[in-house]
């Protein structure tokens, strides 16, 4: 790649007024973005902030409803990914677009073969690729099969692929999600090399440390809008965290002080040294330990992707940990589970616990079932439902009506197809279902994701009510307001580890934001 001429304009990318709507949802709202040529620019924000949509528009997957794009000073239209590629935009997706059974070289050639005989194409490409690899210090074993490559090398392959096609702008979507810290460091070195050679790099991420480590400028997005732009050298993680999650708590829920319950009673759930290494060898959770007492809500805060999901699903019996233990004291005698013998969803319920999953649509309800059938999901073995051995619609309807009444689920039509309910009502149904048996322990994730405001209020009320009745609740949420509104104590996770457990009354958003980007606590802290 020849270095750019000095006549090239200062900005590689200029987006003005980009707006994109999907039905009633506005994913991007009048977004302006300027990326200087030969710089590393970060776009940061929470899930749903709109950064992925914006990059998809830049790469041709979507067309913006309003707004304009300029590439290197010239107006551009990008109708599809082929357009984007031909105009010098390359993208490294979060989930790699690589064919595992092919070699690295063949993956690069796919779509850019330059002739029908692969033998010739491969020969010609090797030379060019060697030069690219040397120039940008991107080492990839061209003849290795992609499936056999470590993740870091696969990512380098994706970058090489983009460069081979002449990318002058490289977009990386959540690049370090699957990398070890060492691999991340290597990636950053490559990105700096690219920048020094006038390749423009855009990183989409929600990890603030990344921004601080490698970017020159950063744009913060929230709720589809750009809320701030900074030079990285002139800001701090804490400021970015605050900008990302919004203003401090506006949500107030009347909570009785839990003094009669928490801490004085023996813990219902004790987790010690819990760890999970996934199939690819990535650490997802390590040395997680805490106690949960009856009548308290422990909120698990942290930017998504830092182990909270794994923690929740492991405790719910849907994931198998690789280390540690959990002890449930919900029955007559405490039961301890270790990786050799972990519990499953059935046992969880049998022990008087309940689980509201983060992913409502694919797990907690069944879209094509009727409301009353979703209302018994997980409890279909209940004797009360089938007194004479068969599931009578009358009993199903009765159970459904009980749940509908308990949480004001609308519309109160038990035969309605679950998919036709609004997200808020679906969630209310799920919560009613899980709370109906007065569980001693409730595991709940993202209780108000995709839920309208009226339902949110009801859900909060019910959670507090359950807590007051003695249920121990573990609440995982990426909404910091929610954590503050509901929790008695807040446990913060970062990078799969617990970085702090603090009483809510004594914490501010700033404190939590700090903890969300901090390093792990020493292991012996468990309360």
């Amino acid at each position: 790649m020849t270095p750019l001429q000095s006549a090239d304009p200062a900005f590689a990318i200029e987006l003005q007024g980009i707006t994109k709507r999907f039905g009633t949802v506005t994913a991007n709202d009048q977004v302006d973005l300027q990326v200087a040529t030969g710089s590393i620019h970060g776009v940061v924000g929470e899930n749903g902030a709109g950064k992925s949509t914006l990059m998809s528009i830049l790469y041709g997957f979507y067309q913006a409803d309003e707004g304009s794009i300029r590439l290197h000073g010239r107006a551009a239209t990008i109708r599809n990914s082929a357009d984007a590629i031909s105009q010098g935009i390359g993208m490294v997706h979060q989930h790699f677009m690589l064919v595992g059974t092919l070699s690295a070289l063949d993956n690069i050639l796919l779509g850019a073969e330059g002739g029908w005989r692969l033998g010739d194409s491969r020969y010609r490409a090797r030379e060019r690729l060697r030069r690219l690899m040397d120039t940008y210090r991107l080492q990839v074993d061209l003849d290795a099969q992609v499936d056999d490559m470590p993740v870091g090398e696969q990512q380098r392959l994706e970058i090489l692929k983009a460069l081979y096609r002449g990318a002058r702008v490289l977009i990386l979507d959540e690049p370090t999600g699957v990398l070890t810290p060492q691999e991340a460091g290597q990636l950053f070195a490559i990105l700096r090399e690219l920048r020094d050679r006038q390749v423009t790099v855009i990183i989409i991420t929600h990890k603030l440390q990344e921004i601080m480590d490698v970017t020159d400028r950063v744009t913060v997005m929230r709720a589809g809008r750009v809320v701030a732009e900074r030079r990285t050298a002139e800001t701090r993680r804490e400021e970015l965290a605050e900008l990302m999650v919004g203003r401090p708590v506006l949500l107030q829920v009347d909570k009785h002080r839990p003094s009669e319950h928490a801490a004085s009673h023996a813990p219902v759930l004790s987790v010690r040294d819990l760890g999970l290494v996934d199939g690819r060898g990535c650490m997802r959770m390590a040395h997680v330990g805490f106690d949960l007492h009856p009548g308290e809500i422990l909120g698990v805060a942290g930017v998504s992707g830092n182990g909270q999901t794994e923690l929740l699903r492991t405790l719910a019996g849907l994931l198998q940990p690789t280390a540690g233990s959990m002890t449930l004291a919900t029955g007559n005698a405490p039961r301890t589970f270790t990786p050799q013998r972990w519990l499953d969803a059935d046992e969880l319920r049998g022990l008087g616990c309940a689980h509201v999953p983060e992913d409502r649509l694919s797990e907690a309800i069944v879209k094509n079932f009727s409301l009353q059938e979703s209302a018994v999901l997980g409890y279909q073995g209940d004797h009360a439902l089938a007194p004479r051995g068969w599931l009578s619609p009358r009993h199903l309807r009765r159970r459904a009506m009980q749940l509908i009444d308990a949480m004001d689920v609308r519309p109160a039509v038990p035969t309605l197809r679950t998919a036709d309910m609004s997200g808020g009502n679906q969630q209310k149904l799920v919560l009613a279902r899980e709370l109906a048996r007065r569980p001693r322990l409730l595991l709940v994730g993202q209780p108000t994701r995709g839920v309208d405001i009226g339902a949110i209020e009801r859900i909060y009320r019910e959670l507090i009510k359950a807590r007051d009745a003695g249920t121990a609740i573990l609440l995982v949420s990426v909404e910091l307001e929610e954590i503050f509104a509901l929790s008695d104590r807040i446990m913060v996770m970062n990078g799969g580890r617990v970085t702090g457990i603090v009483p809510t009354a004594a914490a501010t958003v700033r404190d939590i934001g700090l903890l969300m980007t901090a390093d792990a606590l020493p292991q012996d802290l468990t309360t």
């Binding site: 082929a82 677009m97 064919v99 059974t101 063949d106 993956n107 796919l110 779509g111 073969e113 692969l118």
Partner: protein, 325 residues
Amino acid sequence: MEDIWLMVLSTAASAIRLACPLVLAAMGGILAERSGIVDIGLEGKMLAGAFAAATLASQLGSPWLGLVGGMAAGVALSMLHGVATIRYRGDQVVSGMALNFFALGLTMVLGQAWFEQGGQTPALDAAQRFTPIDLPGAETWARQVPVLGDFYRIVLSGHSVLVYAAFVLPALISFVLGHTRFGLRLRAAGEEPNAVDTAGVSVAGVRTLALVATGMLCGAAGAYISTAQNAAFSRDMTAGSGYIALAAVIFGKWRPQPVLGACLLFGLLTALEARLQGQSLPGLGTIPPQVFQVLPYVLTVVLLAGFIGKATPPKALGRPYVKER
């Protein structure tokens, strides 16, 4: 001793001839499935090809025109399969099955209506068929050479041209898959269609081309059965060999050379069935012919169950490609 040797050779020759349609159809099956489309409709395409080839050969007098007709019939059915599965994202198994029924019925109905011989097409004379070819010297000096000469004369020589073509085919398919642009895109489409799409190549286009090739090869397989192996089309003459070809594709793990081996094995089983009819083998007694008939299927199931190695299909096999956003 001499007799046994000759018997072995003639069984081998028979196995080769029986394997030929399997090889042609199985190569077609490989292309379809490696591109990501499940195709259990090999049987129907073979039948259609057989009927078309026999009809055209008898009416126009040339087996080559019959071959072209057979391939065209195969392609026609393939395109129906393609429209349903690619354009309309329909269930690939059901589509293949439906087209098998359709082809089975259509060939019988048209055969009966046009020729009124109980579903058979008019018998073909030698000029209208693919006749065996004697390789140079097979009938002359090969008779003088011991052992190898007999091998040359009986096993290698005396097959029709389609057989020789079928045995060159796997190497050709290997080359196409591994060393051409089309093969690269085809393989990628069957493993990771997203990667193909983001590289700017049309997944639907690649898969459609693959299905065209499948149709041509299965049609040719059918043409072989009706104009080379036999001298007319008769009802349901493929008798399940399309499914044996499918079993060979799976048994050979979707790679041309192992699939060729599987086809030869299955062809051998059929040849042995005829050869050992009613004969008692030492220690085993008389093996019922049905054992040979079901052995290809049993072996495939054993492989599927993972008892003799793993059968890993192309990753995207059977899933209609929807652009993920």
